[in-house]
């Protein structure tokens, strides 16, 4: 039932009239085309959404949805445009009204209302141009493989296919079900992944970061170095804190004493928010991590962007840059 509906709609709208801009299409045929498209997309989104709840597959599912969107955009634009133009011609409105879709929010709604109007062309006038085309095609030029093989079987009449309201209603309900399952599961999976990312708990992005840096413990050991640095500063153990810096940050203020003097102003800071901004490996195979930290005190500057680098088998602080969050 539904399968027959899907196959026949696809055959008629995509395979037979892929880019027909010069005919008409009835209201039921047009909306069946739209329904079948949404049914197929809904199926893909539902399956991929349910699969994306798994952290390891999350990024791949998002990428597959994007890829399917690209393929669908390239292949289905022409049939949809053709169907819309034919539908507008069927309702006796000008096809240039289709350009109204570019109005920001209400354009699409206007077009949907236009596409829902009654067919205004009389039945005789609408059938004859289509009849001529199909006669021409069937008699002379469409000798596909099957039609040559089945010459004997073509004698019987073709009964007109009708699906009744039942299969269309069932298909609509299934489409709504698929889309809601898909959107809900993608939404909840994205929430979960973003929360895990902000707290640096294991999740899709932490897995990707670990894969980029080729180690599972890199991010946590770097985080440990950062917390150790600020605890040392708070306890005024400047030697231990100085050891955790990389060369560039060490020499930023000149000598050790000048550094101690400049750092004394940051005395007594407590970290309140701490998350990972990104990781990468540069061309010389050196690993970098970027962190973003927020402190509990409200005095300026409250946020700090930290850049860490992996050298001599430990993570060291390459730069600490205060910034203001806009």
């Amino acid at each position: 039932m539904i399968r027959q509906l899907v196959i026949d709609t696809i055959k008629e709208n995509i395979m037979d009239r892929y880019c027909e801009f010069s005919g008409t299409i009835s209201r039921s045929a047009f909306w069946k085309f739209m329904l079948v498209e949404h049914l197929l997309f809904g199926f893909i989104i539902a399956v991929l959404g349910l699969l994306s709840e798994n952290s390891a597959l999350y990024v791949y599912m998002v990428a597959i949805v994007f890829a399917v969107w690209v393929v669908a955009f390239m292949t289905l634009t022409l049939p949809n445009l053709g169907a819309m133009v034919c539908r507008l011609r069927d309702t006796n409105t000008s096809e240039w009204l289709l350009l109204l879709v570019f109005i920001p929010y209400i354009g699409i709604l206007i077009i949907i209302v236009l596409l829902l109007r009654d067919s205004k062309v009389s039945s005789v006038a609408s059938e004859s141009p289509n009849l001529l085309e199909s006669d021409l095609e069937m008699d002379q030029f469409s000798n596909t493989y099957e039609s040559v093989l089945n010459v004997d079987a073509e004698e019987g009449q073709e009964a007109p296919k009708s699906y009744g309201k039942q299969s269309v209603i069932l298909a609509t309900l299934i489409t709504i079900l698929f889309w809601s399952i898909g959107l809900y599961s993608f939404h909840s999976a994205t929430h979960k992944e973003i929360k895990a990312y902000l707290r640096m708990e294991p999740g899709a992005f932490m897995t990707l970061a670990a894969k980029t840096l080729d180690s599972d413990t890199a991010v946590s050991s770097a985080k440990q170095v950062m917390t150790e640095y600020y605890t040392n500063l708070n306890k005024e153990q400047y030697q231990a804190a100085y050891r955790l810096l990389a060369h560039r940050e060490r020499e930023r203020y000149g000598t050790y004493d000048q550094w101690v003097k400049s750092v004394k102003a940051n005395h007594g800071r407590e970290i309140s928010i701490f998350f990972l901004d990104g990781v990468y490996v540069d061309d010389d195979d050196i690993k970098h991590i970027d962190f973003d930290m927020t402190f509990k005190e409200k005095d300026y500057p409250n946020n700090v962007a930290v850049h860490m680098i992996y050298e001599y088998e430990t993570w060291r602080i390459e730069s600490i840059t205060p910034y203001e969050r806009r």
């Binding site: 791949y60 000798n143 990707l208």
Partner: protein, 194 residues
Amino acid sequence: MEQNMIYDVSYMEALKRGFKQYATFSGRASRSEFWRFMVSREIIINSLGVLSIIVDMIFGENSDISDYTIWLFIIMHLIYLMPTIAYSSRRLHDIGRSGMTLFMVLIPIVGFFVLLSDFVKQGDVSSNAYGERTSYVVVTPTEEEQIGIERTASLREDVTMGALAIILYIWVFVYDFIPAAWIAYNTSGFITIP
């Protein structure tokens, strides 16, 4: 050779025809042989992409073999460049346009879709300024041995090859998209004082 052009082709025949006539910019090419050539091109090139994915997984991403598979991919694109351009301009001759309208693809978005709608149109029904029709006689299995050309591809073969081309394309696209998105995200994640 001239006489063989009237036969509707299978996938191997379309490939052979594309490469034998890689520089033939006169004459016509019908829809069926053009699209069968394009689909087989997509399948072959994306199979090389999948091969490079598998090699990356086995040998690591920066190994030498991985570099060689990327070179193979690029070389295959270059090998297919001339036959594709020649076949496309013959397809445009089939609907009566000059081959120069192939340059419409340079117009950003609209050009691509206008060209695509040209490639999908039915060819002229009789001889036009560029020659006779091609690929309109079906070859059934019984005639296969008599003529020496493979039989025409059936609808089921067409649908299978099309689905295979789309799946391979999505596979290669996803593999390239993920690291690119991750790198783009990381390099823009560092906030500095304005």
